[in-house]
């Protein structure tokens, strides 16, 4: 399954995981020690990050190390996704403002 990259960065835990593994590759257990949540939910977050194609896996014996996989084009995509989302939210706010302005205009002025 291929996911929208915005899903990866929409969640604070996943953002924190990305920060951790950006510094150096880590096993799921090592990642889990940084969070106050179950090993199971760490796995769930790692699965989503993997589906966003943000994880590089390295096998060392029985251990799997996860590292951040990112290239220049992907960085741009992340920003574009953020910017799209930001623009969308901004204009939803404007929708509300326009409704208020229209209502005010229809009310008799004092």
């Amino acid at each position: 399954m291929r996911r929208d990259i915005f899903q990866a960065i929409a969640d604070p835990t996943r953002r924190a995981i990305l920060v951790l593994i950006a510094v150096h590759a880590m096993t799921p257990n090592a990642i889990a020690t940084h969070f106050d949540i179950t090993r199971q939910s760490i796995s769930k977050h790692l699965r989503i990050l993997s589906e966003c194609d943000l994880l590089a896996q390295k096998h060392d014996g029985r251990e799997i190390f996860y590292a951040l996989k990112i290239d220049r084009m992907k960085e741009i995509d992340i920003w574009l996704d953020q910017f799209r989302k930001m623009t969308e939210q901004q204009f939803q706010q404007l929708d509300d403002v326009l409704i208020t302005l229209k209502n005010n205009k229809n009310e008799p002025t004092v």
């Binding site: 604070p12 220049r72 910017f83 204009f91």
Partner: protein, 166 residues
């Protein structure tokens, strides 16, 4: 109510095209994009506030504003009005600035907003052309730095650092 929102980025030409319908006539929508007291109500992301230092809406005039989080000013942005065709279109040159409106890095984007009223709604066509997509990255970072998500801010810095090193 279903209002069209279309966002297309052309990386080759470093241009973003946004099309958005609004459920109001041209008079209101034009005011919403050009009057300080209305811009203050919708431009900033939810957790931030828009603080307008200067607004002089005329050709050659400028709009200097800051995003504010609590007591912290996250940074100033400047929009210089290059051309204005009332209730039709206007074009700005945008940059990150200091509090006096001096560009921080001499990187600019050019934004053209076109307005078209059709019946009960107005469609706005926005074209943003960037000198460099790095500027877009900075914009996204600024817009999303909400202070509360510490990990997120770190991630921004990380991405900026690897971008700058290339």
């Amino acid at each position: 109510m279903n209002l069209l929102f279309d966002f297309v980025a052309d990386k080759e030409t470093k241009t973003i095209y946004v099309t958005r319908e609004f459920a109001a006539g041209i008079d209101l929508v034009w005011d919403a994009f050009t009057k300080a007291e209305i811009l203050e109500k919708w431009v900033a992301p939810k957790s931030l506030k828009l603080s307008i230092k200067e607004m002089d809406f005329r050709e050659g005039g400028r709009w200097l504003y800051a995003m504010v989080s609590g007591d912290n000013i996250l940074g100033y942005s400047l929009a210089e009005f290059i051309s204005i065709n009332p209730k039709n279109s206007f074009t700005t040159r945008n940059s990150f600035a200091d509090e006096n409106g001096n560009s921080l890095n001499n990187q600019f984007s050019i934004t053209t907003n076109n307005f078209k009223e059709e019946g009960w709604k107005t469609t706005v066509y926005i074209e943003k052309k960037f000198d460099d997509l790095v500027l877009l990255e900075k914009m996204a970072t600024l817009g999303f730095k909400e202070g509360s998500a510490a990990g997120y801010a770190n991630l921004d810095e990380y991405f900026l650092s690897i971008t700058n090193n290339k």
